[in-house]
Symmetry: D3
Subunit: 288 residues, 6 copies
């Protein structure tokens, strides 16, 4: 599969503290009462994490980091690449290490991995739904607080494309900004005057009239919000390559293909990160 | 509705840093380029956050805290209580304040609120599904890294009951612990010897044989994992009030009622926190 | 001695940051002016930490972590196990490493070790004082701010048992809670309704009347506060195995044996963590 | 009493984070299960914190900060000054506020206050023991990890004097430094060459011979370690005002007066901070 | 002057922690020994901060935040706007408050203000140097570690324009990237394939040949590195409005005007943030 | 050159977090979009950092730490010692490692190194300017917020001497303190009464009259502020070795030699840390 080659990596500095804090959240002040009471410190184990459902891998480095925090000697024997398709039973990771820290870290590792594979899996379903079109699937800022960089990486693993990471890396003018500025023109001029030339300017429009008005000010990207397919088609014609176009508003797996067929460049899907069910994964110790 | 009266509150110290970090994640190094470029600092606004779908409120204090971090003068005009039922159009919060910080904080506030209302809503659906039974709905440690205390609070808002908060506030002996200890007896004795008397001891069993073995050691709670309803019924009879019983393993809205009818005390549902879709909410500025 | 085998370990994640902050507190902004001015970077040393008084070892891993933070090559040559008895002159740790970081870390390492051995030593004295009884020695939440997990571990090293780690891992109903709830019954019902079934419920009583009232509500644990031995004996009879019993209130090394002889399960001793004198330890460089 | 007027204050920036972390340590992830389950949010209370034993007040601001973190409306009605003498029954603080946060914060507030009053109380006993001499009582770096600034403040409240705060605000040349430098002269020259002229230079000596050698290099302060009173007297004569003198080594309440009578300027007492028992304090709600 | 109206504000969330840490750095563990020893707590003062040299104001909010951290009652009587021109003697801030915290915070407040006014002042000198041209002055990522958002704000106060805030908000392809990709085409294709469509793509070229090659791939911005004015002029002609142009490489106040006259859109000046001398400011207490 | 031998080292604990935060500041939430999109993960490189101008090396350990945070395998092949003189073209560091993390860390590493070499270089110029005198060059607390320990180390690398690190490691009585205390005598007595005997006492005087008054109270150090050379000479005579003398106030490379010739012990130069231009450095990949 070609997709894997395209995944821009996630810098480990972006998740190390998050992993440490997630472990601290689970360990509390007392640590793993059960494992610490029962499992001998020296006991070794081999095991694997595998999928119980069809899905897409994302975040294996985070799982490994979780185990390594508790046992620097934790050893990876085999792993799939993030972005790989998973069938029920597919191993994501085979490993060897001390049993006690593995059992202590298990839940946190699976919580990360299940959540990120879940995002990647839902993304892949949207990507597949619009296959054959020229459009791409886009995420949003509707992410889980604290996990944005991770979830956006998982979107990439699923074959999606990232929209801006936050409020400071692109301009997105929405309806309230337009009202505050007294109109599209006022808003566009304000951002050209005040924002750096290194960031792109995107504007959200609800109607074709607003679209025409916006086009006069030459935005880089236009977000076509809540338009029906027919209207989207007209919008794409009006834009005519002068700006990148994104469609947003309640796009589902059922409606994605039709929307993609209108010629828009991107379909923006908040659900990728705010409503993806976790992928069902299990950790199994093969020898103990 | 009586449920609201029962919700144990969430101490603000448990979410203040989380809100601050979520805002920092969205503001990045540059802040809100769009709003800062367009919206005059002195502009005032009134507005509300409302539900677009049926659901249950949870986390309104977090939304308020998010706005207040950016504007200490942000004023709440009206709000529902967490745990309230929401219909499409119901306002969760009416407010007044400066427009610029409201627009900057909007997405983070909605991300928290949408996620927590989502958890509460799914919980309520499970609670409703087993209405009439003597069982309660239980969450798990399958929570979003960094948000456990918040998600567990949202479960309470939905009418669910919290299982342990982490590895240190109750004993839960699972299959690998039993293997490591060389049997149920070894594991139970190890925890009695090593763990504080102030924590309860729970043990997971897969079969009625294991259950019988476990009962000999007088655990406080027994987790009946992946048992069919008929088997659960037998297990409940075997336990016969000597321990609290929990059923777990792929419990869905479809199967919950039947499982609850077996007489188990609790149904453990990981999906409450790992797979609840966000509740669809909107922020609307009524005057600007 | 058998005790050592029973000590539940302290997860390194629970002290790494504490060690780092303690070093930062001592280094300030300028570092170790004396050592940095005098001791050549390459100078190697061997040395040991030994006890000047009789006591019990606790926290050797923290001392090692302190040295390793400043010199990852710091090498442990020999060490006793936490929980071991120490005589004047007994080495806790023999080591080899660079002299400069050893001298810089010395005070912080000894501050941790002296404090934790002090807690373990006082605990052991109480444990010894009630030898032959069926009771155990219990710590409290009267710990040094920031060091609770460490001090509770030291209590375990001394042969004591930990009470709850904080406000969230067990219920403890005290007099003011009872007043606020309008009585024992109101308080017990409120916690049963609002608190998770995974935590135990303990209630404090001052009189036999209160005890009888409490027993009607079937608490897991009863704290018998400030009762004289005779009264304690009656209380134990009244409880008659229906709940775990703890005695508290000014228990000293002088009174412990008599209290233990009343049949209570636990003696709760705040002094273990709030008033244990540090064990007198020294670091000696044997070759420089 | 005059002492109070001399107490150099503790900047609130030096304890705010420490208080916040201590509360977090006690609240864990779940908060105060007992109070949150029982005490109505709106219930008001008045109360006080009082001493059960004779002692010296220190750290009342920290107690107030602890309550205010949980309830910004917490109101102080009356308080003593830090440094005041306390008799059994003396109120340190009278207050009014919401009952729930007061009960939640109670233990943490008392832990700080008990520990700091304990340090102040022991310090005052040493100060009283040497009354009439020209010497002062000095603390050391043998402090509780994380609490040094607080404990050193408590020493001041007790009438003691602070030695250096850490490794970077004064030079203290000890035996191992002398060995590493090849002698007293080498060590003194190294620090003069390498350390800032803004810090004082202190050197520890064990014998009169070492003292004579040290005096040739004109140190600011000389630490006379483990010398008997007769030897100390000779040392003071030898120093003859050319340096400040400190005596250290196992100084107890029994031996302090004799040591002070030798003419040394300071008596260094590690026990002030590593072995002071907490002062026994209680919080009492007067109306609920 | 019009410039002031254009300054995009600095969100307080972006500097609050930085101010707190700077105060902590100066207070150390012991606080302000001098002020705490001398200045009575209740003493009030009025004063001002004024410029000793000609310059531009930037960062007054940070100075105010610094004082408020130590005294929430600190009152601003009068202040200039950031971006204002300052003559020797001009007051930036007039204030009233308690003398002790003002003296304690003085140095930190002035360190922030002096540094940021310094950046704004140097920026303004460059802006003035190219007045009359169509070019703007641009900053770089050559900022002081930890202070990027602040220094970039100061650049805006001086009339400059911000380049990207970090590695994640725009693409900038440099020579080593081109080598690693095997050429301009490979690099441009890689970023188009892997980077979000919401970020702009900039490429650095050293020669007109490279420029022509780059233009084939339609970058948003071209950085013309180390080109002489004549070459720059040719480059601008070649670009011919198809991309934004930036000149970089040793641009000084002497050479800026000539470079600006070549028609480039931006002059990139690292010195704005890595080599701006602090503006000489003083704090004066007018009444004490 | 002898200077190098005298440089007191910088403890790595004092900069590790600063390096991590500087990388986080540059990576933002998205990481290095350019490098991550273009440079293959496995690509190896060799390279060097070299000076483009004459200067003095300082902070090479920080640059190495920056690279190692992103690639623990980063290998140093050759390096100069901090404090070494650099000519245009001199390599500070030769290294080998993976190309991607080197390119990602390049700017942060150079920002640290350029700033610290800049401080060391300016310091060395002042040191050279007063060569032959008995005076030394001194830094101040006019440092960049967050970087004080680093900048003071760079001053040492340049041959300068550090003044106090912060408000808590020496007393410095300034004019406002004198006013608040009602005179020199009141201020000196207050600090003797309230501040530890382990810190030195410095007082700032503006006139010879003030100097005489101050000398009566036997301060350790006297800061002669804004005195002309003739006046300084008289001051030095008056002091006559009874205190260390420092001159401050607008000392420049032009005036330093004359001031040094007055016999003062130290020249205090704020510009060393608040106005040193960065040293111009480059990173060059020699093989890729």
């Amino acid at each position: 599969m070609q997709l894997k080659a395209k995944i821009r990596p996630l810098n480990p500095l972006l998740y190390r503290n998050i992993v440490a804090e997630a472990l601290a959240e689970d360990l509390g002040r007392g640590g793993d009462l059960t494992t610490d009471s029962i499992v001998p410190a020296g006991l070794e184990a081999r095991g694997r994490i595998f999928a119980r459902r069809t899905g897409v891998a994302a975040g294996i480095d985070l799982a490994v980091e979780t185990f390594r925090r508790l046992d620097p000697e934790f050893e990876v024997l085999e792993r799939v690449e993030d972005g790989s398709n998973l069938d029920p039973g597919t191993s994501l990771l085979r490993f060897r290490g001390r049993a006690a820290p593995i059992l202590t870290a298990e839940r946190v590792a699976l919580n990360f991995l299940g959540a990120l594979c879940g995002v990647a899996t839902l993304t892949r379903r949207f990507v597949d739904a619009i296959e054959g079109s020229s459009a791409s699937i886009l995420d949003t800022r509707k992410t889980t607080p604290g996990l944005r960089a991770l979830e956006k990486y998982a979107v990439r693993c699923g074959g999606g494309v990232n929209h801006r990471m936050g409020l400071d890396d692109a301009i997105l003018i929405k309806d309230n900004h337009i009202i505050a500025a007294g109109g599209v023109g006022g808003a566009m001029e304000a951002v050209r005057r005040n924002a750096p030339h290194t960031v792109k300017i995107e504007i959200e429009v609800d109607t074709l009239e607003q679209l025409k008005e916006a086009l006069d000010f030459d935005p880089d990207i236009i977000l076509l919000d809540n338009m029906a397919p027919a209207q989207l088609r007209q919008a794409v014609e009006l834009i005519n390559g002068r700006a990148i176009s994104e469609a947003s508003g309640g796009i589902s797996l059922e409606t994605a293909a039709e929307i993609a067929s209108t010629g828009v460049d991107f379909l923006s899907v908040g659900a990728l990160t705010h409503s993806a069910p976790a992928l069902d994964l299990s950790l199994e110790l093969e020898s103990l």
